[in-house]
Symmetry: C2
Subunit: 624 residues, 2 copies
Amino acid sequence: MKYNYLNNLPLEQAKESYYAHLKQVGFAGKTEVIAVGDACGRVLKSAAYAHICSPHYNASAMDGVAVKAAATFGASERTPLRLTPADYVVVDTGDPLPERCDAVIMVEDLVECGAGEYQIMAPVVPWQNVRQVGEDLCMGDMIAPAGTELTPALCGALLAGGITRIEVLKQPLVGIIPTGDEIVPPTADPAAGDIIEFNSTVFKGMLGSMQAAVKVYPITPDQKEKIRAALEAALAACDIVLISAGSSAGRDDYTGEIIASLGTVLVHGIAIKPGKPAVLGEAGGKPVIGLPGYPVSAIVIMEEIVSEVVALYYGKAMPARETAKAVLAKKVVSSLKYSEYVRVSLGAIGGKLSAAPLARGAGVITSFTKADGVLIVPQNCEGIEAGTEVEVRLYKPLSQIRNTLIVTGSHDPLIDEVADFLARRGAPFRVCSTHVGSMGAVYAVRDGLAHMGGIHLLDTESGVYNQAYVEKYLPAGTAVTVKGVGRVQGLMVQKGNPLGIKTFKDITKGRYVNRQRGAGTRILCDYLLAQNAIAPEQVEGYRNEEYTHTAVAALIAAGNADAGLGICSAAKMYGLDFIPICNETYEFLVDKRYLDDPMVQAFLEVLYSEQFQNRLEEMGGYRQ
Amino acid sequence: MKYNYLNNLPLEQAKESYYAHLKQVGFAGKTEVIAVGDACGRVLKSAAYAHICSPHYNASAMDGVAVKAAATFGASERTPLRLTPADYVVVDTGDPLPERCDAVIMVEDLVECGAGEYQIMAPVVPWQNVRQVGEDLCMGDMIAPAGTELTPALCGALLAGGITRIEVLKQPLVGIIPTGDEIVPPTADPAAGDIIEFNSTVFKGMLGSMQAAVKVYPITPDQKEKIRAALEAALAACDIVLISAGSSAGRDDYTGEIIASLGTVLVHGIAIKPGKPAVLGEAGGKPVIGLPGYPVSAIVIMEEIVSEVVALYYGKAMPARETAKAVLAKKVVSSLKYSEYVRVSLGAIGGKLSAAPLARGAGVITSFTKADGVLIVPQNCEGIEAGTEVEVRLYKPLSQIRNTLIVTGSHDPLIDEVADFLARRGAPFRVCSTHVGSMGAVYAVRDGLAHMGGIHLLDTESGVYNQAYVEKYLPAGTAVTVKGVGRVQGLMVQKGNPLGIKTFKDITKGRYVNRQRGAGTRILCDYLLAQNAIAPEQVEGYRNEEYTHTAVAALIAAGNADAGLGICSAAKMYGLDFIPICNETYEFLVDKRYLDDPMVQAFLEVLYSEQFQNRLEEMGGYRQ
């Protein structure tokens, strides 16, 4: 009998039944007693009460002399009082108040009269300049309730309260079992068909920030008995087990079946995308979760479910998630069947937060490296229109998001290079660059979604770059173009140019790979096609669209295509032959309001620097 | 010659000259090459570029059959096409696309016809259902610029890009030298005059979150040569050295002098409060910072200076700090001489954020354990009025601050106990309790600064508790009182009652310790004084005011006072004799808008639970 079911449970329902089951089988944290000095970040098992007062004795709060306050009454500027050595005891800050003293006179208020005598011009009242017992903390006061995560200050307070050892929850040990015949350990040189196992590294990092310890098991092939044996070993050693991949309903997907054979599967298949084919199970009182193999899907399950299972272990409420309101920059279409998790990059321009959706493929880990947050489109919602205010769950602190220069537009690696130069100079902001093509840059700057954008837009009538477009799309003059670089555009072709491509016309000799609509390079392609009287239908691969020069180069190098327009540096990177076609003017369109912004200025300063010119020369195909 | 200077440099000026000097002497991070699998949280030395594309081969995106797309053209429902085994290759998701194939047909779109033949009803286009080379990441693409802190997703992207080892900045090793003759290691049983050394634990915890490693040196007595030797040893081993205490200008304060003898003191004395007596120095190219001995002062310097010195080591911009706007709940008075750091607790009631200043003593570590943020009052500002909108630097995520039940008012340990019960039940919110007295609770609830408040306000005319006050101060009926507990108030006196105190009248026999104005217990005291025809001037210690029952008990137990009014549980905790005076009604005043709030409901549910009644019985002096 083949175990092969996959349902589509709404997320909240899946969580509810899973967590209820885990509680019912007694899943809860173990504890240990450790030194308070090592307890920062740990979670209190029970309420902590001060054992002693702090200060635990009456302490002088000043350098000076301790006295009996009553003996100083009557002292004034007119009737100064003289203290003989019998009347006082010298004390430093922190010294215990001597027997029979109840106040301290500051050294600054003492006038030396010789023979150890002092004059004072004012009385002190009882307990003046004294830190009385318990000023900070009283014995018996609750320092923190159960479940508190110990901050540095709380550890200090515990020690101040005379507590040197404390019972905290042990970090849960989470076992990760990577599975799959095609999976190989990290390598710089994988064979075709090898899939580099990086998911466990991502999970390990995420679990670290959930206060969990991690044990990664060796990669297990797609064989039922081997996976079952690995799971049994992990269950014996760990508090929580994650099985990576094999959670779907394909030919070699055994996760659900194996968990069911050792325990209970509560949920298999959740109505979220990405993340659907997750398995939520339990064996021996321990959570066993089958994670999807695609990294993006797995990360969503880690964030939504695994983080809450760890919270459950700690007996804590579910982790709160920071959110912020943002205006959606681009329409998002969503399926009615799933709740969709759309990674977004966030930009703060003129105080307003905007959210731009990133690539949504389940295999695209870079959509997470670039994400500032995630927008959750509810199930039963067909999509959200551009301009709608949405709530975004944040991945980064708002202060960091606000401190970001948004450079959008045409792809050129030089933007990342400038960002790197800025970072190495310790610039107090980060650069976020997105590739939306030159026309995308024009719209983004017009709509206040970017500080600046890279453009290279050929006016096919005048042969002049950029100006005509700026005048047409930004007639109010709210943005200006500033000098960027000159660069060579050309045809990238296989090394050795096997098809003998010499001019643009020759692209019909092979399979072309195109750029997306709105890209400056696409406009150039269409212009050259018209000039050469070639119809798009005559070009094989015209509809094969990529977003960057490197993506085009990568496909030619891989043999997926024979030619594509792009810049010299991309061809050079991939060892491709390069046939120069034209020189173009790559400029930056800058919103006038931000022309003097220190971030924009710093960006341009790097761009125009001599050091950066050297870098451009290394990259190749640029000129001043 | 005695080194003994202390200036009062504005913070920004102090930072500027210090950091400029550190840069000038070449203070910067060392690097190491580590496995990417262990690099989460570490900081990139240089920009990281993908070594290989991801995917690095054309991979099937589906389970199905790989074909040459051109061979499927023309297939339709009317004219289905038959694929023979020679036309296709079976592939699973992730399999490499076989030679000569350029598309995949999903298994769902295949109709089996026997003999290994399939019928298809639609064509596929080239690269359909294929993850082409570089879909996620292209060789040569910058994955992250220099200075990036590696997130789990970035580690995944590095591995996907064929990078297995990476150069990152070494964690700086920070040496901490605790100094002071009176300082002792953490103990549950310190002698009078012993000061428990907890500062290094606080620093260690803070440094951990700054990505620094820590070495704590043994406690060094206040002897110049010993401190100098400890500093020399630390300089030989560490990247940054912190000397704890001795940074002021007192008799035994040698930090500045010792740093100057081994290197340079750039700043001694900063115009901030707390934190003034800090020493910013350098020796052997390494930062050496003298921290004030008072924990609160030291923490401010850790946050303001040490965190930025660590950022400097990492070559990063200064750490961004999260802030939020809040309405100041109580006037803050400040000195013109200093920029003042006022710890605040934050409450979010009805969407509005309010900031309540906490105790400001430099020795009060609990002001940090309770703080949600800090309000910085600029130098040259005399103070800020209540009701002003201020910017608060946050210590906790806003989501956590928003998820907080604010219970203010009269001190009773039962509030902390309820909070602990709630935490143990995994309540999805925290309880923040502040002790502002019963009248403080009335005002706070009236002004929307608290959800609820504990009150026990005796109407001296009717002898009835609470109702008269609520009617007088909340005439609009915006709040209601709900059942709390009955409790016994009485006189706490030394064990064995040496002064023979029998009734309230007898407090004139010894030194009294009072509660603050506005406290229900203070109102009771004043009522009893009037009833007994005793003038406040006749009561020694009448002006000695404390904020909690335990503080009063602690002072009596320490012998600082002979009697004080308070509740039975406090007397019991301190082993004091207790002379019951009256039974009172301790109730909760609840803002009507929040009566049905799940947080308020959960609080009351615990309060009325049988388990909690048992806890009250243990504590003593309460009745239903």
